[in-house]
Amino acid sequence: MTAKQDIRTEGSTPKADGKPILEVSHLKQYFQINTGFIQTRPLKAVDDISFSIREGETLGLVGESGCGKTTAGRTILHLYKPTAGEVIFKGKPIRTKQDIAEYRKKATMVFQDPYSSLDPRMTVADIIGEPLDIHKMYSSKQERRDRILELMDRVGLNSEHAARYAHEFSGGQRQRVGIARALAVNPDFVVCDEPVSALDVSIQAQVINMFDELQSEMNLTYLFIAHDLLVVRHISDRIAVMYLGRMVELADAGEIYDRPLHPYTKALMSAVPVPDPKIARANKRVQLHGEIPSPLNVPAGCPFHTRCPYAKDVCRESMPPFREIEKGRFVACHLADELN
């Protein structure tokens, strides 16, 4: 489109071999759903996922609605108590209440909806200052106030607006408030749950750039959850794909986009509406048949076999392990070797 696109500077990736800041091991999150009179059944929102996030990187987490990506993000932050499995932050497993309290000073969250995630009765200054209050992170009122103004400045909000309420701001500005709140405790790790999907196209880019800048300024690590694959591709170093509570593929952002290995990832990538008519016309889409099965009735074997064009008997019978097929490329598919 523009000349600028051609002079493309390669994404700096000194992060590639960084040590992991967060490890997730066999994490499970089941919700008990009432299915009848005193009957319950587990809904396996997140089912046995393991991966690690390296210091300073952005790991994109994608998948369709109901695949468990938001639940995964919340469980990783211990906003939900995991049904099983462990989250290890900077080498230390998070187990006790004290662990969680300490962990929350270093790991925070930016929510999807900038309208419902800000208390309408609090001023912006109090919203941003609330984490500071909770963790008692200031010694004087002046210090608290300075910190809040500094944060507002950092996310591009006019500090004169500190006494205003959330409804006085536009969507993009509200999302900045949400980001300032997440950064208040000076975290190392931030889970961003669809932080730009509620914003208009022209505002999206401002916020995406801000995430980029804040990351290099404050040395942040992101888990970036989104369903817009082009946004995720833009911001992420690596991308993980989830389907029905399971992780099906994890690889470098460029790799997974250009050369997906799992049949589901292939379908997902080919369904991305690329904003370029010529590419769109040439695009051969991998058709998926049927609907996503209910997470209450996850099919036996590979959860994707009901829609997979290549499914064989082995896929219906056993769950494929999430294995490292090439260096740094993980995939959960029995047929990954023969298909590629």
């Binding site: 994404g11 993009g172 880019a205 379908a267 369904a271 690329v274 904003p275 590419i279």
Partner: protein, 331 residues
């Protein structure tokens, strides 16, 4: 003569805070069998344009002036009887949210047949057959069984398919799709877009596709209108708009969206915040956010000018750069 001719359409909403000029003098043509995309951010007037054509504006909204001609027949000021025939029969609309567009207390079959019974002379048996046929057309499995089911038994993608079936049951000349896939997942979205493309080829209707997603436009549209603050910034064929954008707003949009090759570089966002329709600037509505704005942009609105036969834009930069001359500014 074009199938649909919209000329200098003005639609306003009268709110407590004052008059909101949601659509501010737009003109366009739609030919048989074409797919026209209308893009813009929230509040740009793209949906109001469609609602004006259908005359389904909210109580506070009113068409102030302008003309909307369907096959030569004037719709502005037409009485309700004419509009009832137009709606559903000649122009159909599908909405963004398939969850709330269906009545949860009636079966899918009853809702599909309602449209057919209302607009055609078919009896119940024939209407039932037609409804089943429509469900088959939109690739709903076991249509006879599905007819007896309620909306809650359908997934989001399936409900949107039902909405499309309902909209097409009377073979309209124009289908207006107002963000039909925004609420759906990408794989489902791709399926719905493909379905619309196939049906469009099969029965040759025209589609007005309203969306904020340039990706969706690239997949489906022949022609594109870019709207900002109730006016048209730029219109032309999809290739012209994507590969030769001639309005600073369109250029800004194209630079600000992530693409497959944008990783590692900075996006170039459009600065500022979306416009407040209650306080419209005198000149070009985009001028306050435009990096290239000149004095004239703030003073005076640019007229729509032809770039070439497939492409028109309203931007002073084109005059400055000599792409259009000031005299032919009123083309």
């Amino acid at each position: 003569m074009a199938l649909l001719e919209v000329r200098d359409l003005h639609t306003s909403f009268f709110t407590d805070a004052g008059e909101v000029r949601a659509v501010n003098g737009i003109s366009f043509d739609l030919d048989h069998g074409k797919v026209l995309g209308i893009v813009g951010e929230s509040g740009s007037g793209k949906s109001v344009t469609a609602y004006s054509v259908m005359q389904i504006l909210a109580g506070t909204g009113k068409i102030i002036s302008g003309s909307i001609k369907l096959d030569g027949q004037e719709l502005v000021g037409a009485d309700e009887k004419v509009m009832k025939d137009v709606r559903g029969n000649r122009i159909s609309i599908i909405f963004q949210d398939p969850m709330t567009s269906l009545n949860p207390t009636y079966t899918i079959g009853k809702q599909l047949m309602e449209a057919i019974l209302l607009h055609t002379n078919r009896n119940r048996k024939e209407a039932f057959d037609r409804a089943v046929e429509m469900l088959k057309l939109v690739n709903v499995n076991e249509p006879e069984k599905r007819m007896k089911q309620y909306p809650y038994e359908f997934s989001g993608g399936m409900r949107q398919r039902v909405m499309i079936a309902m909209a097409l049951a009377c073979e309209p000349d124009i289908l207006i799709a107002d963000e039909p896939t925004t609420a759906l997942d990408v794989t489902i979205q791709a399926g719905i877009l493909e379905l619309m493309k196939d049906i469009q080829k099969e029965i040759g209707m025209a589609i007005i596709m309203i969306t904020h997603d340039l990706g969706v436009v690239a997949q489906l549209c022949d022609e594109v209108i870019v709207m900002y603050a109730g006016g048209i910034c730029e219109q032309g064929t999809a290739d012209e708009i994507f590969y030769n954008p001639c309005h600073e707003y369109t250029k800004g949009l194209m630079r600000s969206i992530p693409t497959t090759t944008s990783a590692g570089r900075k996006l170039e966002p459009i600065s500022g915040t979306p416009i407040d329709l209650l306080n419209m600037p005198k000149g070009c509505p985009f001028a306050p956010r435009c990096d290239a704005a000149m004095k004239i942009c703030i003073r005076e609105k640019a007229e729509r000018a032809l770039i070439n036969k497939d492409h028109a834009a309203a931007c002073w930069m084109n005059v400055k750069n000599g792409i259009v001359s000031a005299e032919n500014g009123n083309a």
